[in-house]
Every structure is written in C-alpha cells, then in structure tokens.
C-alpha cells in the first residue's frame, strides 16, 4: 500500500507549484502590463470616466506595447504571446481601469480571434496586421431587438452580383467610437433562419457604415458603446469571414472564448477594488486602531479574498483548458458567471470598507462598484450562462 502511494506522488502529484503558476514569459508580460497600467493609465482613469472618452494617446500606447495583438503571430505584426497572455493582460489592466481592459479584451478575444480561426490567409495578412498595428476593432452582433436572442438579428446582407449590401442597426457595440474595423453579423437569407447569418468584415472607410448614438452608461464609461448603422453598406464577397451562413457558429464560438476574457476582467476589477480598500482600511484609524483590524472587517476581507481566489482559479482553469484544446464551454460559462458575481460583491464591500471616502469620486472605490455591474450583463447575461451550464450538465445525464 505504501509503495503504491509513493509511486503516485512521484509520478504526477507534485508537478505544478500551484494552479496559478505562470511561466517566465507570462510573468514578464504581467510585470510589464502592471507597470504600464500604473504609469500610463492610472493618472487618467477618473478623467476618462468623467468625459466618457478613452484618451487617444493611451489607445496608441496600447498598440505600441503590443497589447492589441497579443496572440497574433509575429508575421502579422503581433506579439505571439498566447491566449493566456491575453488573459493576464486583461486582468492586470482591469486592476487599474476595467474600461481599458475591455477595449483590449474585445480586440484580442473577439475580433482577432475571429480572424485566427476563420480568416483566409489574405484576410489574416490584411486585417490582423491592421488590428495589431493601429486599428481598433468592434464586434457587431447585438441589435435593439436581439441581445440574448442573438439569432433574431434583423440586419440584412443582400447579394448583388459579387457584392453584398448590408443594411441594419447594431446596438451596444464596444469600441465602436474609435474603431476602424467592424465584424458584422448579418443575415443573407432570413428564410433559412439563423443559418443565413454570415460574418462580414467592414472597414471604417466604407461610406456605408457610420457611428450613431453613444450610450451614457453607469459604468465602464470611457469604453465607447455606440450604435453602429449600416446603410447600403457595400462589401465584396471577399469580406465574408468564414463561410456563408456560418456566422452563427462564429458568433457562438468567439463569444465562448471571449467569456473567459470577461471573467479575467472581473477578477482584475475585484482585485483592484479589494487592494485599494484593504490598504485604506489599514491606514484609517477609528477608536484608536486601524479599522481593518476590527474582527468584523477582517472576516469580510478574508471572505472576499477567498471568493477572488476561487474566481481566479476558475478563470485560469478555463483559459488553460482552451489553450490545451480541451472542451471548455461549461468551464468558461461558470468562470464568467462566478467572476462577475464576485466582482460585484467585492466592489460593493470595498465601498463600505472605505466609508464616506468610498462614496466619492475622489477615490477609486465608487468606479469599481459602477463598473462591476456590466460583468453580469455583456457577452452573455448571467441567466444565459446559467442556461448554458444547465444544458451541459443535463445533456450528460
């Protein structure tokens, strides 16, 4: 019995130091993004939030740092740092500003991703290069009448010879205010239902696309969320990404992966709120001691730290599974669901720990609280995540 057990231990037990272990490159990336966020983003967070606009210089710097093509191959101008690289970058950015984090997240996990998986060589050469060098991308799926029920989208793409003419209004589109490239889901044949949905790439210089109303949001206010209007937007058939009628597949699969990115944004947000509030609680004194040393506070902080750890493990796990080529749909849904819940809970606690100071805009806590809410809504609402998880559980019975 003893011999058998020790053989088990040497064979595979102690291979990983921890499930949170990062390799050398990931550590280097993490350090760089941390330093970058501290120096280039932190001083402008509140200002960008107030004016609801991302600093153009900041967007430019993100490109220069290689953060807009993290997984993109070197041959297309990317950083070739892998999916986990994106996850770490998104997390570190969210610790400072979840708005910048989501901009980088959409670019990498949605837009770049679509091209990695379904782009032709010509499309990759042209568009991945643009996206890693100087062009911000947007993923246009949702409409006024179709959010969770994505396939009910009404945007049409009519075939006219070798071209398609796109007409429709997309809503809630992240990055659209500054984007130069749009991936748009449009239906070429409504009689086929969702099997007519096709993914098209439209560049910003196309006269048939324009940006409409910008939403005035509760949180992530410096991330532009606008209406994108396609009016007689003409594209060649080469603008189809993937196959005709397979756009629904692209939408689902790209969002499954993007979900992990959002999970990462949420754990970064939770950590940022936590760190700021805990630090404050050890400085602020009442009744002769730092408020963080009262047992009630200690217990709350311990619970929050535990929840963040659990969420992080789920996000990292889903990310590693995706990298390993495993089926990760359920794990990704669980990670996003849980991480967004933890983010809300921790951000809310953080405001309370900071007291009056947590309620004013001079301090970071109130922004984290407002930003956290979107986690349960975009890239698949929490109810949709629950539905996905339930389906996968029950389909295995």
């Amino acid at each position: 019995m003893m011999r058998g057990m020790s053989r088990l231990a040497t064979r595979g037990g102690a291979r990983y130091k921890s499930l949170l272990t990062l390799n050398e490159d990931e550590v280097a990336l993490q350090d760089m993004v941390k330093a970058f966020a501290k120096e280039e983003i932190a001083p402008y967070v509140m200002e960008m939030d107030e004016v609801q606009k991302m600093r153009p210089e900041l967007i430019q710097k993100c490109f220069e740092q290689g953060l807009m093509g993290i997984e993109t191959a070197e041959q297309y101008g990317g950083s070739d740092a892998g999916f986990f690289g994106s996850i770490i970058a998104i997390e570190e950015l969210a610790k400072v500003d979840p708005s910048v984090s989501v901009m980088v997240d959409v670019q990498n996990t949605l837009v770049n991703n679509a091209f990695f998986r379904w782009g032709t060589d010509a499309q990759k050469e042209k568009y991945l290069r643009m996206l890693s060098t100087n062009t911000l991308g947007s993923f246009c799926l949702s409409e006024a009448g179709s959010g969770s029920d994505a396939f009910a989208l009404k945007t049409r793409a009519e075939k006219k010879g070798d071209e398609y003419v796109i007409n429709g209004n997309k809503m809630w589109i992240t990055n659209s205010g500054e984007a130069g490239l749009f991936l748009v889901m449009a239906n070429v044949d409504p009689s086929k239902g969702y099997k007519g949905i096709t993914c098209f790439v439209v560049t910003g210089d196309n006269p048939g696309v324009r940006i409409g109303k910008k939403e005035n949001k509760l949180g992530i206010r410096s991330s532009s969320t606008c209406e994108v209007i396609f009016e007689d937007c003409v594209v060649s058939k080469d603008a189809i990404v993937g196959e005709l009628g397979k756009g629904y597949k692209i939408a689902i699969e790209v969002l499954n992966e993007g979900r992990i990115g959002i999970g990462s944004q949420m754990i970064g947000l939770a950590q940022g709120a936590f760190d700021t509030a805990v630090k404050y609680s050890m400085e602020r004194e009442q009744f002769g001691q730092p408020i963080g040393t009262f047992q009630g506070m200690q217990h709350q902080q311990a619970q929050c730290a535990t929840n963040i750890m659990a969420a992080r493990l789920m996000v990292y796990n889903a990310a590693r599974m995706k990298e390993a080529g495993e089926n990760f749909v359920m794990e990704a849904a669980m990670a996003k669901l849980y991480a967004s819940q933890v983010a809300q809970q921790v951000a809310s606690q953080a405001v309370e720990w900071m007291g009056g100071v947590g309620f004013v805009k001079d301090y970071p806590a109130e922004k984290f609280y407002r930003d956290a809410k979107i986690g349960a809504i975009y890239e698949g609402t929490s109810n949709i995540q629950l539905q996905t998880i339930a389906k996968m559980i029950q389909s295995n019975l």
Binding site: E24, D25, A28, A35, Q65, G66, E74, S79, D80, A81
Partner: protein, 235 residues
C-alpha cells in the same frame, strides 16, 4: 550593461532571524533599468553596435537578463552562483568578476546603475574602474559620446550642482535617476527576448577569491519611529 536582480522596490523589507528576508519578489534594480535604457539610446542613435547584459546572481537572476534583452540588449552573460555563494558575495568580488569579463567582452562603455536598492553599497562601478584602470563617470545625469567615439562626456550630479567630465574610452558609467526614463519593454520584444542567447558561466569557476573580507556583526530592522509628544513649553 551590468544589471542586478534585487528585491522589488515595492516590497517592504523585513528582517527575519538577523537576516533580510530574501524569499520575496525580485526584479531588475531600478538604476540598472536606467543603465539599460542609456545603452539602448546609444544603440538607437547608431553609436553603439552591441549591448551585452551581464548579471551575477542565482539562477533566477536570469529574469533580469530577459528584461534587459526585452528592452533591447542583444545578448547576455549570466555568472551563476549557488544561493550561499550569492548571499556571501561582496562588492569587491562582484567588481573582480566584471574585471575578469572585460578580458572576453572588451566593452567600450560599462553601464551600471549607481547603486543597488538592496544593499545600497554604491561600490561596484568605482571598483571596476580602479581594477581595470579605466576612467569612471559616476552618478551620470547626462551623457554625450564624441563623434570619433574615442571619448565621452558625462554630466554628474554632485552635492553642490553638476559637473561635466570628459574621459577616454573604455570607461565605466554609473547611472543616476535623472539620466532617462526607462522604456516599457513591448510585448513583441518580451517574446523575442526568449530567443536571444544567454552565455552561462559558473561563479566558482571564474578564478576569483570569494573569501569574505567583511563580517556582518548585526542586521536589524530600524527602530520604529516613536510618535511626537506634547510639551508644556519649549523653554
């Protein structure tokens, strides 16, 4: 460029059992980052053709070499020591290692940070200069290379202002805070740094006498600052 893998500047150093607790996050010494940046600026101006990052440390010190290469150094030399050897390493011995490496590297300018933020000795650049009998421009806040590349002008921050010295190459330059602002390594460069060569050498095989000449008598946390008190009057 000499770089040191030191305790990260964000860490609050604690003393445990008479020794500084070393099992904390380490990263490149901030002044060494400035040194690397100084070398990179010369490379980008076409004045310098090759940058070699050098460190003397344990196995993990390679992280700082990777950082230097991510910032643009072409290759590295890692003089590896066992943890016990590194813990006991004194500045004279470090300087001797650099002097020994000069035989192979034949550097024109030896860039270093002015001091390391862990021991704050501020010895090595000056000692290297003495050992090699070459000029030193320490606490550099400004640097100019002559057109014929045979000499440099170093502007130094001194207690009563700044002083500009001209010196022939090869020379040692130790870098101070206001010399430059180090660049962030871009992500593509971080990934490329992996492929750049690191030449590993063993500290014990470099033929340098490692017997300590300094004995540490005591190592303690600074006395906690007492609060102020009120006095009735100041007479």
């Amino acid at each position: 460029v000499g770089v040191k893998h030191t305790v990260d500047y964000n860490i609050k150093v604690k003393v445990k059992d008479g020794k500084v607790a070393k099992d904390v996050k380490h990263s490149m010494n901030p002044f060494c980052e400035i040194a690397t940046e100084a070398a990179m600026k010369l490379k980008e101006a076409g004045v310098v053709t090759e940058i070699v990052a050098v460190t003397i440390g344990n196995a993990k010190a390679a992280e700082s070499l990777t950082k230097a290469m991510a910032m643009g150094a072409d290759r590295s030399v890692h003089v590896v020591g066992e943890q016990a050897e590194i813990d006991g390493l004194e500045t004279l011995q470090v300087a001797k290692v650099f002097a020994k490496l000069h035989e192979e590297l034949q550097g024109d300018i030896y860039f270093m940070g002015k001091q390391a933020i862990d021991d704050d000795q501020c010895h090595v650049p000056q000692m290297v200069s003495a050992l090699l009998n070459i000029p030193q421009g320490t606490f550099a806040a400004g640097l100019k290379v002559a057109d014929d590349k045979s000499s440099i002008e170093v502007t130094r921050e001194v207690d009563d202002g700044s002083q500009t010295l001209s010196m022939k190459l090869p020379a040692v330059v130790s870098c101070d805070l206001r010399l430059n602002t180090p660049r962030f390594a871009t992500l593509p460069n971080i990934m490329k740094a992996k492929k750049k060569p690191i030449d590993k050498k063993k500290l014990s095989e470099m033929g340098i006498d490692l017997t300590p000449r300094v004995e540490v008598v005591e190592c303690a946390q600074p006395v906690e600052r007492q609060g102020g008190g009120k006095v009735a009057d100041v007479d």
